[in-house]
Every structure is written in structure tokens, then in C-alpha cells.
Amino acid sequence: MAQVHLRDVVKKYGAIQVVHGIDLEIQDNEFVVLVGPSGCGKSTTLRMIAGLEDISGGEITIGDRVVNDLPPRHRNISMVFQNYALYPHMTVRENLGFSLKIAKRPQDEIDRAVDEAAGILSLAEYLDRKPGELSGGQRQRVAMGRAIVRHPEVFLFDEPLSNLDAKLRTQMRTEIKKLHQKVKSTIVYVTHDQVEAMTLADRIVIMRDGHIEQVGTPLDVFESPANTFVATFIGSPPMNLLRGRITGDTISLTDGPLISLPPQFASNVADGQDVILGFRADNLMPVGHAMPMEGAYAEFKMTVNLSEPLGTETLLFGALAGKEVQAKMLNPRPLQNGEQLQFQLDLTRCHLFDAQTEQSLR
């Protein structure tokens, strides 16, 4: 029973404002990921929810309580830190039971909670070790176990996987997702890794410079980014963005070919408007190596300057309208650098942004 509501939350350090009036409603049992480049205020926001940073303005509620002036220990939250933050002088068992011991719960209840958490995270055989004797992944699990023994209303994760190597990160990502399914609870998760955000989140909150750029499900933000920042931040490789101008029912790309106006935007643009055309590499493919295009598509020639074979597909780097553009090639064949190919662009999957505001024209 814990919704988290942020209303016009502001954080200032002296004269410098790092969070500019954030509004966010997090539902009970929802897994929300705050994502953005470093310095975007996502960790600060999380720490304000935790109570580790003062709130300079606005209001945060957890459940029905306004928690603005509550110290962390009265907020009924758990937090998992980037560096695990295990107590190095305590065994795993003591680490897990610390919060309950502080709360003066009876010893048998502590033992039960610790054993339960150890069972969920398969830590049972390490209970009597010190954190120094554990591997990175085990430490991370202890940190998570320490969070779940308390059955808090809200879990806060602050870049918990960024200290792990790539393989372990994927593995722990799955474990966190499983954990959320086992321990139904509200989770706020901060990361700078958009893949983590996409795979874990019920809803993604994309932040930049202390503002929320877009809130939506992973598919939402992937398929209909609200602006060019979200478009380039979510998805790998980042979306191709090309400047152009609307002329009738075509877009004339600056120093580039004419491309017919994607039909879904036809009613939203005015003749002569400056726009930015966005499309993902997956929607620009060489003829003969593409998915069959069902709707409208554009066709043009492009020189391939570089190719990166990835196995089932090859990533192509070409130049279009004076900018580097990435495309994909299915059923790849070996390519010469500098080879010119005929490309097809799936117009139904294209995005249009206003050139001034950089907001989507959808």
C-alpha cells in the first residue's frame, strides 16, 4: 500500500538548482526506473525520496504521509546502494538482521526474516562470512537481502549494478526482476543504463538537467519518444536525426534527398515548417536485405563508409544529408567500404520533431 507522489519537487544547492519542480506519481507495486545521463538529478531525486537529501521545495508523500521532514528511519523504505554499503565488520547474517535488530524485534523473528531473505537470494551458505570474503555478485545480493528483510513499503535502488561486470550485470538484472515478482512492492530504481531501464521497468522516467523529459512504459518511450533527447537516449544505436523543411507533402532534407512526408504526421505540420526527421537503424535497410515494407516507404542511394558485422545483422554507417546515419542489414553479406547501396526507409516508423522546440509533432 505505498504510492509515492512527488509534487513540484525542487532541490537547490545554494544558488544552483539541480531539480526543477518534478511531478511524478508512482503506483503501488510499480517498478519505476529513473534514467538519464549523469548529472540529470535522478540520484538526487531518489535520495530526496529516501530522506538523505533535504527537499528545497514541493512535497513528497509515501503512502498517505507527507515525508518532507521525516528522517530516513521513519519513512519505512529500504535502499540498495551502488557500492553495496555492507557493514564490513559484521557477518552476512548480522548485516541482514541489522535493521530488525535496531528496531528491537525479537530474535526469533529476526532469524526467520534473515533465513527467508537468504532463501530468496540463495545466500544461505554465506551467512557466517564477512562481506570482504564475498564476490561482487554475492555482495550485491546481500545488499538486496538487507533491503527485503524489513518488508518496507518502498525499495530504492541507486545504480545497484554499475559496479558489476557485464555478465554478472545481466544475471543480477534478471534476479532483480524476479525479486520484484516475488516480493510485491513499490520499487524506484535509478540507472544511467537505458538497457537496464528498458528491461526492468514498468514505467521509465527519463530525466535531463533536473527536468522530466518523458514518463511512459518502455515500449511507449521507445516507439513514441516525446522529444529528440528521449529519441537519442533510449534505444541502441541511437535514433538518426536529420534536419529538413516541409515542402508540400515531402520533407526536403538539408543537403539531402526529398522524402515523402510520413502519413501519420500529415495533419500536424505546416508547409515550410523546419523539422527534424528521426528514424532508427532498424527502419533503414538496403534493398534485398530488409524486412518487407508494408506501409509507405522512401527509397534513396547511400554510400556505406563502415560496417560492423554483428552476426545475424550488420550495422552500416553511411552519410546522408551531411550527417552520419546508421542502418541495418539483415542476412548480411560482406561489404566493401565505400560501396553504394539502395536503401529503403520505413516511413510508418519515422518520427518528426519540431526543429525549434525539439518536441515530437505527433
Binding site: A50, L52, P71, Q82, Y87, H89, S99, A103
Partner: protein, 388 residues
């Protein structure tokens, strides 16, 4: 490549040599004191401590058996005779003497086996192994006959100095009371500042309050204030509030003089503890006091131990503060450093006493150092090395 390797080994040699020099510099006087404290005054007077393990020639004064004791004199063939062994009379192991005499002016008048005429028909013969025969025409009386002899004495160590200095209640120069006085000063003077400083250091490191930076600056500034500056005002203050001279006064003084360094050292250590750990404890529900006792104190143990060693050694060896704040005219509260100063004045020639007193006073610091040295090093490196 050769060049780099050469530089490295050159540096290593320099390090090794200076370590060796330091070790010798430290070991030489310490071992000297230690050995001397187990030697007799005669041994110290004739040879240096480094010869303690080899036999040495010594001049001794030994009295023959007292003729007034029952059964000592026997009449053999009409001559009164006393016989025995000089070394045995003196309670020494067997030895060999070369020359001897009966007067302090001529201690080498006779060689072993010769007979000396003592006048009034008395004669004494001393053999090389110390056997002597004293004969007289009439019954002898008075004290035992003095014999000066020069003998090669095997190495010998005695616990008598310690017996004398520590366990003889009649010895007014004894160290035992001073030893316990020093302990009475040192232990509270170490514990009290640590207790206060640990709390202060936590607050200065991890609690937000206005004026914190100024307080830290003030502590740092106090580090460079010489304590001599405060002696007289502080003593006046103690007298004013009725503490006067005594243990309470010296504890307070040591606490005050030790606090700036203690707070500074501990605060710097605590501020280096990972922020995440403390924030996590906050989220886990711990109050500031619980964070302090359950997280910060255990993790700061190396720094606490290292400061405890510093403070212990400094208060143990302190003379100035004790003289000003503790020792009154009765001398009942004299600490060991003061006792040694007095011994230097009154018993300046008795090296065996001085050596023993000195070694008694350095024994505890040595013990503390060897038991706690790993914490000392770890505490000094505090913050510079990130521990796992």
C-alpha cells in the same frame, strides 16, 4: 631497464641501511639498560654491560668467618684455627683468585698460596680456590678478618636490583608506589579523552549543524598551541575551583591537552568511512547514536587504538604536567618520571639502581608498543589506504 632496476635496488639499500641504523640506535640503549639492571654494582663498576656474558677480573672484599660465632674457632694442636672458603662465605660460586691482601692500601700484597702475618701471632693463608686457614696463638675475637682479593668471576646476573626497587617496602627510593601512581594517572588520562573525542569526532564528521566548519578549524588551531602556555592559568583555575593538586587535576589537564589531537585524528578517520554505509544505516532505521555505537565505533577501532597508544605513551612519560598538576610537597603522588629525577639527584652514582628504575619505567611502554604496534601503523596510515 638496467637503469630502473639499479635505481630501485639503490633505493632499497638506502631504506634497509636506515632501518638498520634506526634499529641499532633504538636497541643499543634499551638492551644496555636491560642488561645493566640485572648486574651488581661491582660488575657495573668494573665492566661495561656488553661484557656481561664473559668472565671478568674483579676486586672483592670478603670477610672470613666471624670468630665469635659458635663452632667457628677450633683448637687444633693448641692453635686456634678458623678455616673455610672465602667465596662460600660470600655466597658466590667457586672462582679462582690471583692476588690478595689484608689491607685496602695493598690489595695485591700476596699471591695465592702465600701466608700473611697479621701480627700478634695471627697468620692467614689463602689458596687460589679461596680456601683459607686463619691461625692464632690465643682465642680470636672481634669481626671476621677482611681479605681483599682479585679474582676472575664467572658471568652472573641478579634479581636483587628489582627485589630492592620494587618489592622492598622499607626502601624509600623504591619504584613500586611511583609505578602505581603512574598507572593511576595514565589509564584515566587515556580513556577519558578517547571517550570525549570519539563523540566529538563523529559529530564533526557526520552530523550537520551550523558552525561545524568553524569548530573543526578551532580544533586544528588548538593543535598548535603549546601546552606550557596553559600551565599557570590552568593551575590557578584548578586551585580556584577547589581541585587543587591531585589526580583529578592531572586527568583533566591531560584530557584537555590530548583532546585536539584526538578529535582531529579520529574525525579525519571517521570522515573517510564510506558515506554509503552510514546513509544505509540511516535508511535501515538507526539513530545517530546507534550509527555511532554500532557502525562508526567498530570501524574506527584502528584509529582509536592508535590514538590510545599515543596518549598512553605521552602521559606515561610525562613529567611536566605531573609536576605542575599532581605532585605536592608530601611526594606521596610522585610518578615514575619524577622518582627517577630524584634518584638521579640522591643516588646518582648507583647505576644499578638507576638502570633498574629506568627499565621499570620503560617496560610498560615497550609492552604496549609490541602488543599494539600493528594498530599504531594502521592508524597512522588511516585514510591513505582504502581497506577492503
Amino acid at each position: 631497464m638496467d637503469n630502473i632496476a639499479g635505481q630501485k635496488s639503490g633505493l632499497m639499500w638506502a631504506v634497509h641501511l636506515s632501518v638498520l641504523a634506526l634499529v641499532l640506535l633504538w636497541l643499543f640503549p634499551t638492551v644496555g639498560l636491560f642488561v645493566s639492571s640485572f648486574r651488581t654494582a661491582d660488575q657495573i663498576a668494573t665492566t661495561g654491560w656488553w661484557k656481561a656474558l664473559t668472565a671478568a677480573e674483579q676486586n672483592l672484599l670478603i670477610r672470613a668467618a666471624d670468630p665469635d660465632d659458635e663452632g667457628v674457632q677450633q683448637q687444633v694442636d693448641g692453635v686456634w684455627t678458623i678455616s673455610g672458603n672465602l667465596f662460600e662465605e660470600d655466597g658466590r660460586p667457586p672462582a679462582t683468585l690471583s692476588v690478595w691482601g689484608t689491607s685496602s692500601r695493598e690489595i695485591d700484597a700476596y699471591t695465592a698460596g702465600e701466608t700473611a702475618d697479621l701480627g700478634d701471632g695471627e697468620q692467614i693463608t689463602v689458596e687460589a680456590n679461596g680456601d683459607y686457614v686463619l691461625t692464632a696463638q690465643e682465642q680470636m675475637s672481634g669481626r671476621g678478618q677482611r681479605v681483599f682479593l682479585t679474582a676472575v668471576i664467572a658471568p652472573e646476573f641478579t634479581l636483587e636490583n628489582y627485589q630492592n626497587m620494587l618489592f622492598d617496602p622499607k626502601n624509600v627510593d623504591g619504584m613500586s608506589r611511583a609505578f602505581f601512581n603512574t598507572l593511576t594517572v595514565t589509564i584515566p588520562a587515556t580513556v577519558i579523552p578517547i571517550l570525549i573525542a570519539a563523540f566529538a569526532a563523529y559529530a564533526l564528521a557526520w552530523m550537520e549543524f551550523p558552525g561545524r566548519a568553524l569548530l573543526i578549524a578551532a580544533v586544528v588551531a588548538l593543535l598548535v598551541v603549546p601546552l606550557q602556555l596553559a600551565l599557570i592559568p590552568l593551575l590557578k583555575f584548578h586551585n580556584g575551583i577547589g581541585i587543587g593538586k591531585g589526580y583529578m587535576g592531572v586527568w583533566l589537564a591531560h584530557t584537555g591537552f590530548g583532546l585536539p589531537l584526538a578529535i582531529y585524528l579520529l574525525r579525519n578517520y571517521m570522515v573517510g568511512l564510506p558515506r554509503d554505509i552510514i546513509e544505509n544505516a540511516k535508511v535501515d532505521g538507526a539513530s545517530d547514536f546507534q550509527i555511532f555505537t554500532k557502525i562508526v565505533l567498530p570501524l574506527s577501532f584502528p584509529a582509536l587504538a592508535s590514538f590510545a597508544i599515543f596518549q598512553f605513551l605521552w602521559t606515561w612519560n610525562d613529567l611536566l604536567v605531573a609536576k605542575v598538576f599532581l605532585i605536592d610537597a608530601t611526594g606521596r603522588t610522585s610518578v615514575m618520571t619524577n622518582q627517577i629525577v630524584e634518584l638521579l639527584g640522591t643516588r646518582g652514582g648507583n647505576w644499578e639502581i638507576l638502570a633498574t628504575a629506568a627499565f621499570v619505567s620503560i617496560a610498560v611502554p615497550l609492552l604496549v608498543f609490541f602488543v599494539m604496534q600493528r594498530y599504531l601503523v594502521r592508524g597512522l596510515l588511516a585514510g591513505s589506504v582504502k581497506g577492503g
